[in-house]
């Protein structure tokens, strides 16, 4: 007959044994800072109270109007998901920009489907291409325009950032609307120059810090830095995305408070608050 007491003792022994074999890799402060993010998010799941005030980042609200103009003039729309991809050998910060660009693609795809504007999506990652195909199919389903799905295409241009730049430069430049959203690197100006420059209206968004000049110079709607992750929350109906921005706002205020307090501490002569915070 199983003995509950013995089982409990075994379980406690297993847990304490695991704890004895374990130690913190980073210092306690760094560990708490890393765990702070999911904790803040979970707290918001329970009680999100802040009022949402949209700012129309990237002029996403004007996409429908632009699509109507494109339909009148008989031109097409092109969306580039950047060149970081999702499974490519790039940094995580870059790849998450591609994920952040998918809701933007969904918004543009729905507007294109409603207006009947042919939409072409370009990416240099096969998994991003698969996800984009799903987004386009969903857009036509939601707008009840399955007969227009044949006009929406996704193109995998091949692996590599140079290919993304070359593909953009090789376009004939007869598209009316261009959207470049996602991770960009040194080929960013080639992608932006090939897509946004010949277009009649365009949106440019990237969190790649070395490429912020491109969207600022060429795009009508701009999302730079954190705005690429915040903008989808303005698109409406996406409660979890707004939740993420609320959570991020709380962490941003926390970061600002930490910087101010630590700066005052340094000014007051406290030695190395940064070392304490980073566990060094």
């Amino acid at each position: 007959m199983p003995n509950i007491g013995e089982f409990e003792a075994w379980l406690v022994g297993l847990i304490t044994g695991a704890m004895e074999d374990s130690s913190m890799r980073l210092g306690p402060v760094s560990t708490i800072a890393l765990l702070l993010v999911p904790l803040v998010l979970l707290s918001l799941v329970a009680r999100p109270r802040a009022r949402w005030a949209g700012r129309d980042l990237g002029k996403l609200a004007a996409v429908s109007h632009a699509m109507a103009r494109a339909a009148e003039s008989g031109t097409t729309a092109i969306v580039s998901l950047g060149s970081a991809g999702i499974t490519r050998a790039t940094g995580a910060l870059d790849r998450l920009q591609t994920v952040a660009a998918l809701p933007i693609l969904a918004h543009v795809a729905r507007a294109a489907a409603r207006a009947g504007v042919p939409l072409r999506v370009m990416t240099n990652d096969p998994v991003a291409a698969l996800l984009a195909e799903g987004v386009l199919a969903d857009a036509h389903r939601r707008t009840n325009t399955p007969e227009r799905a044949v006009n929406s295409t996704v193109e995998f241009v091949g692996e590599g950032r140079p290919l993304a730049g070359a593909s953009a430069m090789a376009l004939p430049g007869d598209h009316g609307i261009a959207v470049v959203a996602g991770g960009l690197a040194e080929e960013g100006m080639l992608v932006i120059g090939g897509l946004l420059a010949p277009s009649s209206w365009g949106i440019g968004g990237t969190a790649g810090l070395s490429q912020l000049a491109g969207p600022l110079l060429e795009a009508d709607g701009v999302m730079i830095g954190p705005e690429l992750f915040q903008a989808p929350a303005d698109l409406g109906g996406s409660h979890d995305t707004r939740l993420a921005v609320h959570g991020a706002n709380r962490l941003l205020w926390t970061a600002i408070a930490v910087i101010l307090v630590a700066s005052l501490a340094v000014a007051a002569g406290v030695p190395d608050p940064a070392g304490f915070l980073t566990g060094r």
């Binding site: 999911p38 799941v45 810090l209 600022l216 992750f229 915040q230 409660h239 962490l251 941003l252």
Partner: protein, 205 residues
């Protein structure tokens, strides 16, 4: 929160890797090592799948006439050349001298020359951006002009003064703006990643 297989997998693998970063434990290290091996295999599978998709997409173009045929010839020809060099009998695979030659004599110079156009595209973007006349473009170009002056490679006392000022601009205001952006991006990214890991909210918008 709606649970699904995908969200569950993301939660499980993300939690294991996060815990492995935070805690030193032999069993956890073993488990995380297995997950990392799986991730590497998945990335390799995605790369192979992508190459196969590309080839499959362009093969019909070979049969059809017109402009698409030459695009397909160039692309499939290039892929075939590298594959033959690496997979032929007696080859050393990816470190074979033939593959190395193709990369160092063709791929690197061609791709590098492509990036040499970035300077020209940037100048064109400056002209187009200022012709639109947005405030952001004007501020960007004014700031860039100031930095270009500071970075002029002049010698003597004037050059030293410019270099000192450039270093100060890089170390103080530029670093402050970059770090502010980095902190903001890092927080947004980590919250987005945590949202995916925790499966917060609907996955079907």
């Amino acid at each position: 929160m709606r649970r699904s297989l995908t969200a569950g997998l993301a939660l499980a693998t993300g939690a294991i890797l996060l815990l492995d970063l935070l805690i030193i434990n032999p069993s956890l290290e073993l488990l995380a090592g297995g997950v990392v091996e799986l991730l590497i295999l998945l990335a390799a599978a995605a790369a192979v799948g992508g190459a196969a998709t590309l080839a499959a997409h362009h093969l019909p173009g070979l049969a059809s006439g017109g402009h698409d045929r030459w695009d397909a010839v160039m692309l499939l020809g290039g892929m075939g050349l590298i594959l033959m060099a690496g997979l032929r009998p007696g080859s050393n695979g990816s470190s074979d001298p033939a593959v190395n030659w193709l990369i160092s004599a063709l791929l690197v110079p061609i791709a590098s020359s492509l990036f040499a156009l970035v300077f020209l595209f940037l100048l064109g973007a400056v002209r187009r951006g200022l012709s639109i006349g947005t405030r952001e473009a004007t501020i960007t170009v004014v700031a860039a002009s100031v930095m270009v002056i500071l970075l002029l490679p002049l010698g003597g006392a004037a050059g030293a003064a410019l270099a000192t000022t450039a270093s100060w601009v890089r170390d103080v205001p530029l670093a402050a703006v970059f770090r502010g952006l980095l902190i903001g991006i890092a927080i947004l990214v980590s919250v987005s990643a945590a949202r995916i890991l925790l499966g917060v909210g609907s996955t079907d918008d």
